[in-house]
Subunit: 135 residues, 3 copies
């Protein structure tokens, strides 16, 4: 199953918990693993709080301070987005969440976020696969 995500800023965090949850419910799987992966090399998927959306802003600020947008990156000679590739590799393109009682098993303050690192972009593809635990 594919979720499409669009971004409006160069870098931003976009919550997709509800869309992933809807796919889990639709699947009818009661117990198993749900894998969520963005199919791009300049975006990532993380799990964290989104009740205060400033946490996503702080995450991007912290990454930008440690890895400046332009700092002599070799890939910038070809395509001006080395920083997005570096940050995407560090954060990782996917997360796995357990399915329990037909729902995502997340802590109270955990949500699933796509991290856009080279936006704005339309139609970023996030693929979701749900593998049931055998009975």
């Amino acid at each position: 199953m594919i979720i499409e995500v669009s971004s409006t800023q160069h870098k931003e965090c976009i919550e997709i918990t509800d869309q992933v949850r809807a796919l889990v419910v639709e699947s009818g799987v009661e117990r198993g693993l749900c894998h969520i992966m963005v199919l791009h090399a300049t975006a990532a998927v993380v799990i964290n709080e989104n009740d205060d959306p400033n946490i996503g802003v702080d995450l991007i600020t912290a990454l930008d301070r440690a890895i400046p947008d332009h700092d002599g990156w070799l890939h910038d000679r070809i395509d001006n987005n080395a920083q997005a590739h570096i940050k995407a590799a560090i954060l990782g393109p996917s997360e796995t969440v357990q399915v329990r009682d037909g729902d995502l098993l997340l802590g109270t303050w955990q949500g699933i976020l796509v991290v856009e690192l080279d936006g704005p972009r339309s139609r970023r593809q996030v693929s979701v696969e749900i593998v049931p635990t055998a009975p």
Copy 2:
């Protein structure tokens, strides 16, 4: 299955390999995937050596140098723990380990560690799910 972990310091690494291994043995699964996830947004799960516990100390020192505890984070206005959220998002809340011959498949120097980033806390919940590879 839930493992409960308590921390005694503001930040620390706590090994849980033995507790996870016990759940794998108890499950009777011979081959598959074991997913270990902390259900909190200010802690993480990583895999690394714990034979020298200073590796966990070095990991936290390195994260603290790159991402200072207080550095104008926006979320600190609401709750004074933005640094824990940022580090937890970068490390990630979960790891997956293969199950082979009824046991965790880890390298000689690999252990499973909970990284407390906003402690001390009692009863941090770590959920473990084991999905067998179909025969």
Copy 3:
């Protein structure tokens, strides 16, 4: 299934997408999850572009700037490779990729890379497990 990887430099990224894909095809699994994990505490697995191999060089440069090779790490007193453990814990030892239509489901610019952080080393072991989605 084990893939063996050798490195020729202290730090480098080595693409293994083709070897993993061959194991997926060989398995005959049409749909599921493929888990790829390096069984060492001083190497990692990441997903990113390798069409421009400089992206891997930039990734290592960025990590080295944020986490210098020697910076008073406690583990260096025992074994002179604390930096490799720290970076390996941050990047993580494994990635999960979905299997769809009997093939790895990767974006156009996504490849699977082993990140050697304490080389050169021969015969680094990468274990691959493929769990099918139940029909």
